[in-house]
Amino acid sequence: MDFDLSEEQRLLKDSLDRLIGDRYAFEQRKAYAQNAEGWSRELWRQYAELGLLGLPFAEADGGSGGGPVETMLVMEAIGRGLVLEPYFATVVLGGGFLRHGGNAELRREVVPKIADGSLILAFGQTERNSRWNLADVMTRARRDGSGWVLDGEKGVVLYGDSAGKLIVTARLGGGQRDREGIGVFLVDAAAPGISRRGYPTQDGLRAAEVTLAGVRVGADAVLGEPGAGLPLVERVVDEGVAALCAEAVGAMAIMHELTVEYLKTRRQFGREIGSFQVLQHRAVDMLIALEQARSMAMYATMMAAEENATERRDAISAAKIQIGRSGKFVGQQAIQLHGGIGMTMEYKVGHYFKRVTMIDTIFGDADYHLRALARRGGSPIAT
């Protein structure tokens, strides 16, 4: 057993900390958000130069062969900085589909563009009636010669407005919620028939509603097995959830730091408010919630590459539950212990609270996963 980082991983973490420290001060972040796309292309190029965008891809495909731990380190830094750039959408989700579902030819074509920062990807899964059920797909894929025609609507597509290519699920056959009959397609975002309505999200990031109307794609647009794409989606989403857990931990850690700092500086009744025992205990409870979340984010990272899908799914659900619950407690208390200041847009802590709250709504909230886990028979107990 070894929870320590390797030398290389430590270097990565240091350079991430430096990057966030130098480039992601609160005011800088505000400025990036003012860009037309809501994030900074210039920083994106820097991430490329630092090798962050090619991190999880095999060297043969033009990446640097990082694994789940590397992704965890990046995502935690993203959480600490409340980073706006589409790393999760492009590298974690989009990249995941290429790694697990793209053939060698496609990977060699697309991965270098991700790694050099020229291609943004987005994953269109959610539909108006699907909630978080990955098998609930109404978007249709019809055979058209050797290719396909796609029709349907995808919602809350993270960074769907910035993406150069979209990855969407569509149904080749079967009923609305059948596990069989789902295909995954890589589509040019500028293809005729695609319209996108981009918007800011509650936490200051971006998403889009995407309509596909008679969008024609070739046979080579299919990722994984046509009609048997759900296991691929689940695998990529599980990796995604592990990454989100790490991001949430980064954000929670900052909320806890800010709160403890505030308890030590804010004075009322002639003393630091941190001298009130009830607030000390609350800060300790926040720490416990944070550490529980951190442990589960590590667990999720460890299990993200698990080949046994059932074990992997259970582990990921367990982590998402813990993150959701801890995130809610840490976020709510961070606001509460700051008093009025915590409620203001001008102060950092509320932005972290909003991000962590929104992470709970992506790929299933704590309750959704709790139900799913309970239905499957509960969390695997460590052996």
Binding site: R131, F269, G340, G342, M343, M345, F353, K354, T361, D367
Partner: protein
């Protein structure tokens, strides 16, 4: 002991309910149901409707336009407002500065201001908190120095709710810097148009503008705007803060939210069936409803005990109502987050010019205000004395710790 309303009380409830349904403009009700912000005009319109009926300042003595209702009737009235839902009469005037003037103000103040409060000619805001004085309110530093027949006010107030609409602000100011901190405070009425006052918006985390900073730079206030005696302001403030025993728990508002949760959870599908049919969701909802019922009963006990009270001292039971009431309100906003699911994410700010805003909504048409309300409602455990401070009060005043 009979926990039910009497036939007379029930008849009264029906009368109030009918009046609200017949007289509240539908556009205002819809905004409240959908969790949207009210415009200043909405609040003014409604208060004037109530005033015409003689119900604008229901809690005041009859002499000043009050209704003479029993505490139970007052409670029913509040409850029906929240259930309709209709706007609450602006509290800063009706439940705060009005009663303080009635108890401690001069005849001139009463004659001039009270009818204007009832008809919402003057919009009042509350200038108590300062950047350095929140929970420890008595440490406030905004200074008022006597200069002939004026006070000169310098300092800063903050978190001032709806000061952007206000004509007047009632302030706690320090008139004797030498005295013990509670003993050097006075209660001043200040015209917001006086030169030297600057209002700056504070945007809250969900993106709304409901609080402000208010700066005072050599602001001249005539001495006749002092309420009661100089340096007795702390007593008046305590009177003000302790008066609101009913309504503080906002049971009616939580009931209305729960009704809304059920309505929306029936619309939102979770797989084969509506979310409302999900066992686990129903259990969670029921658990909140049980807490709410218990709170309602607790509140009724406090209301019923009211008629035995002879003094006007703050009732520490109101702290219990505030703590539990705010927690339940927050729980309802969390349940709404669960209902909306992935469509909590799009940020869809409300437009002031709502009517001309015809971009179609993103996701379900009711989704927009849900996450902002969840964020914004964190305030309820902070304002009006934080829940930690309320617990300190209970520990001291009820438990003697």
């Amino acid at each position: 002991m009979d926990l039910r309303f009497t036939p007379e009380e029930l008849a009264f409830r029906d009368e109030v309910r009918t009046f609200f349904h017949e007289n509240l403009p539908e556009s205002i009700r819809t905004k409240l149901v959908e969790g949207k912000k009210l415009a200043k005009d909405d609040i003014v319109t409604w208060q004037r409707i109530l005033n015409k009926k003689g119900w604008a300042v229901a809690n005041w003595p009859v002499e000043w336009g009050g209704t003479g209702w029993t505490p139970v009737q007052q409670y029913i009235f509040q409850e029906e407002l929240q259930l309709t839902p209709a706007p609450q009469p602006l509290g800063f005037g009706v439940t705060m500065v009005g009663p303080v003037m009635i108890a401690f103000g001069s005849e001139t103040q009463k004659k001039h201001f009270l009818p204007r409060i009832a008809n919402l000619e003057d919009w009042w805001c509350q200038g108590f908190s300062e950047p350095g004085s929140g929970s420890d309110l008595a440490s406030l530093r905004t200074a008022a120095k006597r200069d002939g027949d004026h006070y000169i006010v310098n300092g800063q107030k903050t978190w001032t709710t709806l000061a952007q609409h206000a004509d007047w602000i009632f302030c706690l100011v320090r008139t004797d810097p030498q005295a013990k901190k509670q003993e050097g405070i006075s209660f001043l009425l200040i015209d917001m148009k006086t030169p030297g006052i600057t209002v700056r918006p504070i945007i809250t985390i969900e993106g709304g503008h409901e609080v402000n900073e208010v700066f005072f730079d050599d602001v001249n206030v005539p001495v006749e705007n002092l309420v009661g005696q100089e340096n007795k302001g702390w007593d008046y403030a305590k009177y003000l803060l302790g008066r609101e025993r009913t309504g503080i728990a906002r049971v009616g508002l939580s009931k209305e939210r729960i009704r809304r949760i059920k309505e929306l959870a029936a619309l939102e599908r979770d797989g084969e069936r509506p979310l409302i049919e999900d066992e686990r969701f129903r259990e969670k909802l029921a658990a909140v409803e049980v807490e709410l019922k218990a709170l309602e009963m607790t509140q009724l006990r406090v209301v019923a005990a009211e008629r035995h009270r002879t003094d006007n001292r703050p009732d520490p039971a109101s702290s219990i109502l505030k703590i539990k009431g705010s927690e339940i309100q927050q729980a309802t906003t969390e349940l709404l987050m669960e209902v909306v699911g992935p469509y909590a994410l799009p940020y869809q700010p409300e437009r002031e010019d709502d009517d001309r805003w015809n971009e179609p909504p993103i996701g379900p048409e009711w989704a927009g205000p849900i996450a902002p309300t969840y964020f914004n409602w964190r305030k309820t455990t902070i304002y009006g004395g934080t829940n930690e401070i309320q617990k300190n009060i209970v520990a001291k005043a009820i438990l003697g710790l």
